[in-house]
Amino acid sequence: MEEILRMEHISKCFGSFYANKDINLSIAKGEVHTLLGENGAGKSTLMNILIGLYQPTEGKIFINGKEVKIDSPNQAVKLGIGMVHQHFMLVEAMTVFENIILGDRRSKGILIDKEARRKEIVELSERYGLDLELDKLITEISVGAQQRVEILKALYRGAEILILDEPSAALTDIEVEGLFAIMNKLISEGKSIIFISHKMREVLRISDRITILRAGEAVTTVQCSETDGQKLANLMIGRELTPSHYEKKSVDEAPIIELKHVDYNKSSKHNGLNDLSMCIRPGEIVGIAGVDGNGQTQLAQIVTGVIAPDKGEAVLHGKTVSVFDPNAFIENKFAHIPEDRNAQGLIGDMSIADNLVLKKSEQKPFSSGKGLKLNKKAIRSYADEMAAKYDIRCTSVAQEVRSLSGGNQQKVILSRELESEPDLLVAAHPTRGLDIGATWFVHEQMIAARDRGVGILLISADFDEVLEVSDRILVIFEGQIMGEYSGKNPPVEEISIAMTGK
């Protein structure tokens, strides 16, 4: 088949970190080429290079056999590369037609020849079966239709290569069928599609070839007809199972909290929960494995009382929870390491000491008279003690917590939450962005807490982390639990397939 795009030896460094390392990719005319890989495998970086947002540190790009330099998104458009982002880039208060002609550089004069443009767009949409009402506002049309607007926009600007970034993420099953029909139509007309997805079933159905990325490198490219889900999952995860450093436990004490048939924002596959049931027992770490954005955020927030489920119930120490309020959960000895430490965990403009006593400033010895007088000396010496105990590296505990590095900020939260002597700890991405040393420290602290009898819910997009510390592993996909596995010798391949929804 005729090659339309070739990327040769592409590398991209951020500091000393290689997001892409010596990647070769070849796209043929009229094929659907899938990029498959875990979070952080380098798919987005590679695509951002292709659409001119990043410049590769090394490597060359050829289009139709000619070397090109893509130094801006405009240049990418000129070269016939169009991208449909996972989150659409549409102006909601404008009509479909206006969105499509927005940014069109063809008109030389001041006025736009709307009639000619409209004719052209109607022709295009009929040719590719993109059924759209041009005069509706974006807010008035469905998500599937918005996606068709994005595709039409790219085609209108002359795209020959279309990048679809997780296009099925926001769609209903019927809409996915429609999308696939459009994709088939596009390739039959000689367009090429780069398809990014985590969903094995879809990948196997629509792709011609599949390139697997892992840790910034292209592992291999395979023909879709010659592979299956198991092989792909192995390639994607691609790791030898390193035995965990920690001893795994199994407990059968009465659960601290139990979720029963919980629904939250059910219609959304990516930010909701769908009939989810699970429990957390004292002295165990329950790890939630799954690709980011399959309801993990909502799960953590329900278990900590930040949001209330639409349906179903949460049973706390045998009693059904009626009020979902973080404070009520904190009073029941729940602790929370939230996923966004700066926005949700810390008061950045306050000092380390202030953040450490945030939840207990009215208690002795930090204040006398039930909070009527803060005892700043006691707060200070407590903070000094915590900084030493949790190895918080700072010049002084009076320093603003904002000025700390991510790892040290995380230690501030960790120490605040663990020192509250919780019964249950919800840790959402506790080591995201941390280096190896800090990660190890967090894991050690979690294991130590578990051994003291704390129940821990670990939510992490890092599969290795889940395998490393969990006593029990639950796989979440589109808001549903796909399976439960023991943390002792977990069946890695089975879990990794479950993560992709198969």
């Binding site: 900590t304 930040v306 309020d325 973080p326 404070n327 959960f329 904190i330 009073e331 929370h336 939230p338 926005a343 949700q344 965990g345 810390l346 008061i347 950045g348 403009d349 306050m350 000092s351 202030d354 945030l358 939840k359 400033s361 009215e362 930090f366 204040s367 039930k370 909070g371 009527l372 007088k373 803060l374 190895d391 918080i392 590296r393 010049t395 002084s396 009076a398 320093q399 603003e400 000025s403 590095s405 991510g406 790892g407 040290n408 230690k411 941390l434 280096d435 040393g437 800090a438 420290f441």
Partner: protein, 360 residues
């Protein structure tokens, strides 16, 4: 050490702004052919030169302190109460009506007036607060609109309901409820004292109690405060109520201390002056009180300056405006990432020991 450094920049911005504003004021005076030294001397003498001058300055500062503290307290909780003026006026109006209509005199009258004024002020603050936490409406717009309602309501009182004979104003309050003067025959009423006391109380509350600590946390990061179990909405509502009450008390005490009657044009500008002063005072209650006194001094002293040196009072207005412009610009500057990086380089070079800042 870090904290000291931070309060140093917090202190430097207003001080530098004031110096810069005076420098430009001096240039204007030179251009007018006047001697800046003499003019500023006269200004200072007019504001602080005698017991009488000091009294007048502090008296002028009193209502400004109240409205500035009103703004300061709400901002500390992260909400923008721009309704200080309305809360001040409704406090004065309600206080006036309470003593005028009931006829209660002497000390019980004073108490009644101050209480009614405080209550009216906090109701005026409560309305934008409730609308914000239940309906998510923008508190700035609502509180500004409430200013007009209060001004016009006061208008109804002095033009129709309690109009004093032919003039568009009310009769003055009974002599027995007027606040005594600190020094007899001098325009310096005891209302200044409660103003300063409120400032001290706010300082204590915000920095030395657990609730104040939490309120500041809410103001700095509402999401994290909610995740940490603070009743964020309660804090927001409370801050509106308290902030309204401060302004309302200010209105009532200004009525009894200085103004005595409701009249057209009363209180115009107090609200926004208060907002500016709270910001220049870096939202610190005590600094805010000092800034309010400074502005009052500029206003009082400018008259003496005009009399002694023929430099018009508008030059003082220019200086006041420039202080506001410079300090707002200065604060924006210190928030810039480039500036922060510059300061970091500066301090890391100057401080002898270089602390390790590497990731754990």
């Amino acid at each position: 050490m870090e904290r000291v450094k931070k309060s140093m920049t917090g202190f430097l911005v207003p001080v530098l702004s004031i110096i810069l504003a005076f420098l430009i004021g001096a240039i204007i005076m030179l251009a007018m052919g006047a001697s800046p030294a003499r003019a500023f001397g006269a200004l200072f003498k007019g504001a602080f030169g005698s017991a009488a001058a000091i009294g007048t300055t502090l008296n002028k500062a009193t209502p400004l302190i109240f409205t500035a503290l009103c703004a300061c307290f709400a901002y500390k909780c992260g909400v923008f109460n721009l309704g200080g003026e309305g809360q001040f006026l409704i406090g004065a109006t309600a206080g006036f009506c309470a003593v005028h209509l009931t006829g209660v005199t002497s000390f019980p009258g004073i108490l009644l007036c101050l209480l009614t004024g405080t209550l009216a002020g906090d109701i005026w603050g409560l309305i934008p607060g409730i609308l914000k936490i239940t309906r998510g409406l923008n508190e700035m717009i609502i509180s500004i609109m409430m200013n007009y309602v209060a001004t016009l309501f006061m208008g109804v009182i002095y033009t129709s309901w309690c109009r004093d004979a032919g003039m568009p104003q009310t009769a003055s309050v009974d002599e027995s409820v007027m606040l005594p003067r600190v020094i007899p025959n001098m325009r310096f009423a005891w209302a200044f004292v409660p103003a300063v006391v409120v400032g001290l109380l706010l300082y204590y509350f915000l920095y030395w109690t657990s609730s104040g600590f939490k309120l500041r946390a809410v103001g700095l990061n509402m999401t994290a405060s909610r995740f940490n179990g603070f009743p964020v909405k309660t804090y927001i509502l409370t801050s509106f109520i308290v902030s309204g009450a401060i302004a309302g008390l200010g209105g009532a005490s200004d009525l009894l201390g200085t103004q005595y009657r409701l009249i057209n044009g009363y209180g115009v500008g107090y609200g926004f002056d208060g907002v500016a002063m709270a910001l220049i005072g870096q939202l610190h209650p005590i600094a805010t009180v000092v800034v309010a006194i400074f502005f009052a001094a500029l206003r009082v002293g400018s008259t003496s300056m005009q009399v002694a040196t023929k430099v018009p009072t508008s030059v003082s207005d220019i200086i006041q405006a420039l202080v506001i412009v410079f300090s707002v610009a200065g604060m924006a500057l210190t928030q810039l990432p480039e500036f922060k990086a510059f300061m970091l380089r500066l301090t890391s070079r100057s401080s002898g020991k270089k602390e390790e800042r590497k990731e754990a």
